[in-house]
Symmetry: C2
Subunit: 396 residues, 2 copies
């Protein structure tokens, strides 16, 4: 019922009874229990038209519980805590050259960031309910292990055990909430599906632009995971056998054409400020944007070539999935104004179905926060399955 309230929005007890098939008595008693636990509260009075008396609506509360999403990416770590209503409680990002560090050192830094978020939650009176780590990788979700992350140079890294052990060492006790790890693009598309501009769109392809290119897909309202959880690997589609050498060792992969390294290479010489890896990514992208706004020809040419290559690869996915919406995330969103034209041009030329099969193309409004938001959002799953994991107010 908590899930219904979250997905369907505020509504009267009577309406919940009709929609869930429960009796009014059961709904009332379940609602009372949710209210006691701070997960629901009385909302506005619903006036259902001329007939019937106005009914008190029930809405989601959950301002006192937090889902935690942590993103490990090539250039940064970020943490985001959402309450049950998807409002941001805590958000931090730190620049980190993850490729240059051993996995152990990165997990130390992840733990630092998690402890910082947990401390802030404690200060705010927010109880952590779960944590999800997002990694640009093939992930064995069941085992909590990153199987292979080409752009981090990680093989078989036990991310969940590593973070749990470190948190236990730092805080003196094993964390009292579940910790999971998943692919960043999978979590991003779940974030977009839950709270992005395409929320609720049941056939969805999401592309995240960073050092690599990740894909997350919703088919019929459900995340496409594949037989062993390794779906959505789109960055290494070979689009040009004569292209640049990729981080994976192959040639002409899509991400050599549309990943950040490709953009920076096309846009500037080796010693240019945008190719300085010690600068924060946002600053480098801001330089690109300013140059584009000023009409600098090399920057505009680079963006136009990246846009065309983005459209070329995206056309494969639109032909294969025929999604209702294609969402461009990560840096594709922040520089979207310059990419969208060439993307649409390629899609129109290359998608077989008329009018690109009825697919809308949108720039993510969640940007670089999509993966951490999705991670925080799915961290509430345990609670939705069993709301009694949250104590009633008096027991805190």
């Amino acid at each position: 019922m908590l899930r219904h309230l979250r997905d369907a929005g505020p509504r009267s007890r009577a309406r919940i009874a009709v929609e869930t098939g429960l009796t009014k008595g059961t709904v009332s008693s379940l609602v009372s229990e949710l209210v006691e636990r701070g997960l629901a509260r009385d909302g506005e009075v619903e006036r259902g038209g001329a007939i019937g008396r106005p009914a008190q609506s029930v809405e989601l509360d959950g301002r006192r519980i937090g889902g935690i999403g942590v993103e490990i990416n090539v250039d940064y770590l970020s943490v985001l805590v959402l309450d049950l209503r998807n409002s941001v409680v805590v958000a931090h990002r730190v620049a980190l050259d993850v490729q240059a560090l051993a996995a152990d050192v990165v997990l130390d830094a992840v733990t630092d960031l998690a402890v910082r978020a947990l401390d802030e939650c404690a200060r705010l009176g927010v109880v952590p309910i779960g944590m999800t780590l997002a990694v640009p990788a093939l992930v064995d979700v069941e085992a909590g292990v990153v199987a292979f992350a080409p752009n981090l140079h990680w093989h078989q890294v036990g991310v969940v055990a590593g973070v749990v052990d470190r948190l236990a060492a730092r805080t003196g006790a094993r964390p009292g909430f579940p910790i999971k790890v998943d692919n960043d693009a999978n979590l991003s598309v779940l974030g977009e599906f839950a709270m992005g501009s395409v929320a609720g769109t049941s056939d969805l392809v999401y592309l995240t632009g960073a050092t690599g290119v990740g894909g997350g897909v919703i088919v019929g309202g459900r995340l496409l995971r594949g037989a062993e959880g390794f779906s959505g690997e789109v960055g290494h589609i070979q689009l040009d056998p004569a292209g640049h050498v990729c981080g994976c060792g192959r040639r002409g992969c899509w991400e050599t054409m549309v990943g950040l390294a490709g953009l920076f290479r096309m846009a500037a010489d080796a010693h240019d400020v945008v190719r300085n890896p010690s600068l924060d990514l946002d600053q480098r992208l801001e330089v690109i944007r300013r140059r584009a706004e000023a009409g600098e020809p090399r920057t505009l040419d680079a963006l136009s070539r990246v846009g065309a290559a983005l459209g070329l690869g995206a056309s494969v996915l639109v032909n294969v999935f025929n999604p209702r919406a294609l969402v461009l995330g990560g840096y594709f969103a922040s520089l979207g104004a310059y990419l969208l034209g060439p993307v649409m041009c390629e899609l129109r030329a290359r998608v077989l179905a008329l009018d690109i099969g009825g697919c809308r193309v949108e720039l993510s409004r969640l940007g670089f926060t999509a993966a951490a938001r999705g991670g925080a959002h799915v961290a509430f799953e345990t609670l939705l399955d069993d709301p009694t994991v949250v104590a009633v107010a008096g027991e805190w």
Copy 2:
């Protein structure tokens, strides 16, 4: 319950009651009704171990009803009638240069073939229950219209209305069963899922090799249709920007590398017998196979290049879907012995997940009949939804 009996296999009335949640009395009365209509019959006696008395099992019958699948392809038309147990009742194929003919003329020929199958059904006492037409095309299933078939040069052809009208004109009455049209690769993967070597495998990618290359995908046990039914368009993935010009007008599409025209071009000179379009496709493929068996270098080289290109494109789909099985159909199956080696080699080199993500690669045992089989199979849907569309024996 009929659907349960078909999908789960022979079982006792008691077991059906447990599995469906119906009472034993209801199951017995429903079974009697199915038996009266010739859709079920008593099967073997089930001995459930030491305890309990042996129980009479019930099994699917339906030998007196037929689902009709008709395939319209570039080089041939075929018809196949299956009974409810997926046994072939009628099967015919005729060579036809569909590209060279107007759609009206092709629909005339389709009607001829359908009438021939209907006559044979009548002679055998088999009642037609539905007909599905398979076309290598973007299909508007709801409207019964082929939106676009690049290799047939068809745009907006009202296939269902065309066949219904022609059948009515030929037989003096509108057909008494539903007629539908769908994409050939979609129907093929449904055929493989129902009765191929990978039957029941819930994450499945199927590729059909013919003039074009079609893709059909099962995700979580359901056909991937996409937002508007236009999913699975894989033939025009651009794998080489410097490649051959495709029938679609673009350059370097996958099907220029692995479609039949590509194979024949690589394997033989212009005046060679295998490049004679007036010969039956099976004969031309048989010539290729005999030359390969004899070790003819140009043929072997052509097959090896087609196999590598097939693996290259398939690696995109395996990375994107992470399927449990990849099924190669059409001519990819008939020449599979020569293609499988290079396909596996490319998949191992290009799929990011270890051991190609646990994906089995199989040659279709249904070959060129997969689309018509799938069409015949789904033609029973109306019956499964409502078994009373079949009259009881005495009423025939």
